[in-house]
């Protein structure tokens, strides 16, 4: 094994009562790509923030290049050749690429020489690593993939030999992610050391040399990537065997509960997003809508739940039409038994500044169960919230905690608990497990199947093909606003992938 670029020995870090890192030991070899995986909240980001000097460890030692060092500020880390690409980019949006690159690494009091140096340096980096970017472009006008490239350039400009990337693909399209991986491999070939934090196991398998697994603040294992499997890593992450495919019985489909006929939806620019779509969802079945993001699934969901105006077509709920003018009263739809778990829980599903118990009744707060005369019945609401916390294993189990302080998976559970516990006849779920960790995914899937087994009609829209395949009794594939195919649960990934890419559709059209 090559000489260690970084060595962390016995790192401990607590935030109040929470022990984010306990006795972490980690060794990263020079010139390798080292992955760190773990569920949300396992302590990966904290550990890297300690290495980057954003936080200070309570105890422990850091060795860089074999020598013990103390890293108290980001400046110390930069001086030691450590660069970080943050999950939320640390860029000034209305600055140019050049201005962002030199910020904090200026030559002297005046900018002129710094800009000239950065321009020639960027030119060199572009040639060496193929990191092309227009130095005079303004950041906010660049696509996300290029913004990330600027972050990488920023680190390289400061002479980084060790590059830490925190969840780099979370915001990228698959094509951008592939490009990023090519860049990372090239950087590795040039002798840079790369630490990749992610919770996507497929990325780990695709690109890393070694991988370390974190769970609840501890480092549980380090493996050579080629000697391990996705299954083993997933198990190490959650501490037990994960059902990557949920077990479920045969569906017993009943009467049609939700019926969509010839639905057409246009967006604000007048572009047709949903094009003459028809399907039924019966009680006791899960219908999954697969598709690459942006092929009309979001608009379809919004139209069915009465939020978005539909140009033509009709949607029947238990045989009665839903108002499709986009002005439907969501309260009325809830009363009629339609529950909606929106795709974007932060902006539509939750008020993050509210306490957990408030969010857990939001939208149903007019229900007399939660009222005492004209006032909210606080005791009833708290009892109800505690009940849901227990049933849905929402952690931490404190109904008074601000919703923003829950992890993504637990926030999603709050929304699901709210909607499912109203015992709706029809449940519409957008991206049930987006940004949710492995353990919670399994739980959510089991819950959705339980709903189905109770005879509810469930419509799931997801961009995760695995999820659609594992949950659905019937799979509809959307491409360019149309439903281009229907398949059973045993459809292969390749078959669905072709449909999602519109291949079959185009052939049929010709």
């Amino acid at each position: 094994m090559a000489q260690a670029a970084i060595e962390l020995i016995g790192i401990n870090k607590s935030f109040g009562a929470v022990r984010a890192n306990r006795d972490i030991n980690l060794e990263v070899a020079r010139g390798t790509i080292h992955g760190i995986v773990g569920e949300n909240g396992a302590g990966k980001s904290t550990l890297m923030s300690i290495l980057y000097g954003f936080y200070q460890a309570d105890s422990g030692e850091i060795h860089v290049g074999g020598k013990p060092v103390s890293i108290n500020t980001s400046n110390d880390a930069i001086a030691l050749g450590i660069g970080m690409v943050h999950q939320h980019f640390m860029l000034v949006d209305n600055f140019t690429v050049l201005e962002n690159i030199i910020l904090g690494a200026e030559n002297d009091v005046l900018l002129k020489s710094s800009i000239a140096k950065a321009r020639s340096e960027l030119d060199r980096l572009e040639r060496e690593y193929g990191l092309e970017v227009d130095p005079d472009a303004v950041i906010e006008e660049l696509p996300v993939g290029l913004q990330q490239r600027v972050e990488i350039l920023k680190a390289l400009y400061r002479g980084a030999e060790i590059l830490i990337l925190d969840e780099p693909t979370g915001v990228l399209t698959p094509a951008e992610a592939d490009h990023l991986f090519r860049i990372l491999k090239q950087l590795k070939e040039q002798g840079k050391t790369i630490v990749l934090i992610t919770h996507k196991l497929r990325e780990i398998m695709a690109i890393t040399d070694t991988v370390s697994v974190m769970r609840q603040g501890t480092m549980v294992a380090t493996r050579m990537t080629k000697e391990t499997t996705v299954g083993e890593l997933a198990e190490l992450m959650v501490g037990r065997r994960v059902l990557l495919r949920v077990e479920k019985g045969q569906s017993e489909a009943g009467a049609v509960k939700l019926s969509v006929k010839n639905l057409t939806v246009k967006d604000s620019r007048g572009v047709t997003m949903v094009d003459n779509v028809s399907f039924d969802v019966r009680g006791g079945e899960i219908v999954g809508i697969a598709g690459v993001a942006g092929n009309g699934q979001s608009e379809l969901l919004e139209a069915i739940s009465g939020i978005r105006h539909a140009v033509s077509g009709e949607v029947m709920l238990d045989g009665k039409p839903i108002d499709l003018t986009g002005k439907a009263d969501p309260g009325e739809l809830r009363d009629r038994g339609l529950a909606h778990v929106p795709e974007d829980r932060h902006h539509v599903g939750l008020v993050l500044a509210f306490e957990e118990n408030e969010n857990s009744i939001l939208g149903y707060h007019d229900d007399e169960r939660y009222l005492k005369g004209p006032f909210l019945d606080v005791d009833a609401i708290m009892a109800d919230a505690k009940d849901k916390i227990e049933k849905y294993d929402i952690r931490p189990g404190n109904p008074r905690l601000k919703t923003a302080n829950f992890s993504g998976g637990n926030q999603q559970k709050i929304v699901l608990a709210r909607e499912m516990e109203q015992d709706p006849g029809v449940l519409i779920v957008g991206q049930p497990t987006r940004g949710v960790d492995v353990g919670a995914i399994e739980f959510i899937h089991k819950r959705l199947i339980a709903m189905r087994d109770q005879g509810k009609a469930v419509l799931v829209v997801s961009v995760e093909l695995d999820e659609i395949r594992s949950l659905s009794d019937r799979i509809l594939v959307m491409f360019a606003g149309r439903v281009v195919g229907e398949r059973g649960p045993d459809a292969t990934e390749g078959e669905l992938g072709l449909l999602m890419a519109g291949v079959e559709h185009q052939e049929a059209a010709e």
Partner: protein
């Protein structure tokens, strides 16, 4: 020719009236570009005016007056910084508090020290900044057109007037050509980017506030030692707020700020000039209406005539390292 002279006179007073606005506006520009809202420009100008006039009267020196004005104003700016940067307090509340402290303390201290009902003693010529007559101004005064423009508009102002206008290109240069300016603009947009680049957010913001304090101090000194021969209570009369309006109108850009302040100064000068004289068609207009005109126009301009003004994105938000 009478018309021409009248215009020259209005423009001359436009310059004089816009100087305190311009200084305060540039002061606000430094702090807001660094992400600190400063509604306390008014208060800092007022303490500057009071401190300047008091020190000048006591020590019989205009320069000592100016120095004291700047010192006290910077001290108030640092108080604002202590509350809103170090202790992450609400910047509006802190600014309003500074305005109240300024309004109250200047009257109380003025009465206690000078017993003239809150005024400071009338300043002697040596204790004020006198007008500077440019070479040749007297000689060409009678040349038509050019003469009055040179003698009245360009020559014959106090040093602080020239300082104020020189600050416009200087501020532009600082913002866009120096390291400090780059970092200051960055910290007003995304302090986390500055922090991760290894630069202290707090120290950067404090330095911006010191610039603010210096400029409001000079603005105050101008009011009490140039425009007026001493301090009168509440002599800033809302200029700090008009300067804030001008800053938004100027979209936080130095050269725009100069034009915005000149416009407000012109409205003021025109209102004074037109008082009592009948307007064509409308006839005689009450004095109060003319005096209200600049403020009415401020509201109208801000309400819709400037397009979208995007303030520095981190403005008003204390920086907290997020977990």
């Amino acid at each position: 020719m009478d018309m021409f002279n009248a215009i020259i006179q209005v423009l001359d007073s436009t310059i004089r009236l816009s100087v305190p606005l311009l200084l305060a506006c540039l002061a606000g520009l430094y702090s807001e570009r660094a992400g600190i809202f400063d509604i306390g420009l008014e208060g800092k100008m007022l303490v500057g005016a009071f401190a300047g006039a008091s020190a000048a009267a006591v020590f019989h020196s205009a320069l000592i007056g100016l120095g004291t004005a700047v010192l006290i104003s910077v001290a108030f700016a640092l108080v604002h910084g202590f509350a809103s940067i170090t202790h992450r307090g609400n910047q509006i509340v802190s600014g309003v508090a500074i305005n109240f402290i300024a309004a109250g303390s200047t009257i109380i201290l003025g009465q206690a020290w000078f017993q003239q009902g809150g005024r400071t003693p009338a300043l002697q010529p040596a204790e004020r900044f006198e007008a500077i007559i440019w070479p040749g101004a007297e000689a060409i005064k009678d040349v038509p057109i050019i003469g009055p423009i040179y003698a009245e508009l360009i020559s014959g102002h106090s040093i602080l007037v020239y300082f104020a206008f020189a600050m416009v290109p200087f501020t532009w240069w600082v913002l866009f050509r120096t390291r400090f300016g780059l970092r200051m603009r960055a910290v007003g947009e995304n302090p986390a980017a500055v922090d991760t680049a290894g630069i202290s957010v707090a120290w950067l913001r404090y330095r911006a506030l010191i610039c603010t304090g210096i400029l409001t101090g000079v603005a105050g000194a101008y009011l009490s030692m140039v425009q007026n021969g001493g301090f009168v209570k509440d002599m800033t009369a809302g200029k700090g707020y008009i300067a804030l309006a001008a800053l938004i109108f100027a979209k936080w850009k130095p050269v725009n700020a100069m034009f915005a302040c000149l416009l407000f100064g012109f409205l003021d000068a025109a209102a004074i000039r037109l008082q009592g004289s009948p307007l064509p068609i409308i006839g005689k207009v009450p004095v109060q209406f003319m005096q209200a005109l600049p403020y009415v126009l401020t509201v109208i301009l801000l309400a819709g005539f400037i397009g979208k003004a995007i303030p520095p994105r981190a403005g008003g938000v204390p920086y907290v390292k997020e977990r």
